[in-house]
Symmetry: C2
């Protein structure tokens, strides 16, 4: 078994409204920053032990499917690195 950190990034699907990101963008603009867009996402770093990187990615993928992301409104991606 090897120790891995799987990073799951969960973001809203294109077209889903994100009032929090919009508010953050407006607040930055009010501070004088120029930006064309701002998107927010949740990032989960999961430490787990697995036989290989593929197994670690598969398990993180299943965690995203079952709990971390809501498939109706979210897209997610998984990356795995040895810890």
């Amino acid at each position: 078994m090897t120790a891995y950190t799987a990073t799951v990034t969960v973001r809203l699907k294109r077209g889903v409204l994100d009032p929090e990101a919009e508010t953050t963008q407006q607040a930055l603009e009010r501070l004088g920053f120029e930006l064309s867009d701002l998107r927010s996402a949740d990032r989960f770093e999961v430490d787990l032990d697995a036989a290989d990187a593929e197994e670690a990615a598969d398990r993180a993928d299943e965690m995203a499917e079952r709990l971390l992301a809501n498939p109706t409104i979210h897209d997610y991606d998984v990356t795995v690195a040895e810890r």
Copy 2:
């Protein structure tokens, strides 16, 4: 001017309690997943125009300092990619 996307990742400093991450970890364990730790972070993807990557990173850094992160409890890092 070139179009860049700056990604600002904001995480809690080591030692700061994160009850949301703890609850998420417990929920995953209740679903039968084995994991040794889970940390959560906020990720902001900021689209902006800048003369070069260094200027884009500097501006994203200032956004993190002034609004996106709370230096008392957060660490952050910034990466920049051409869009």
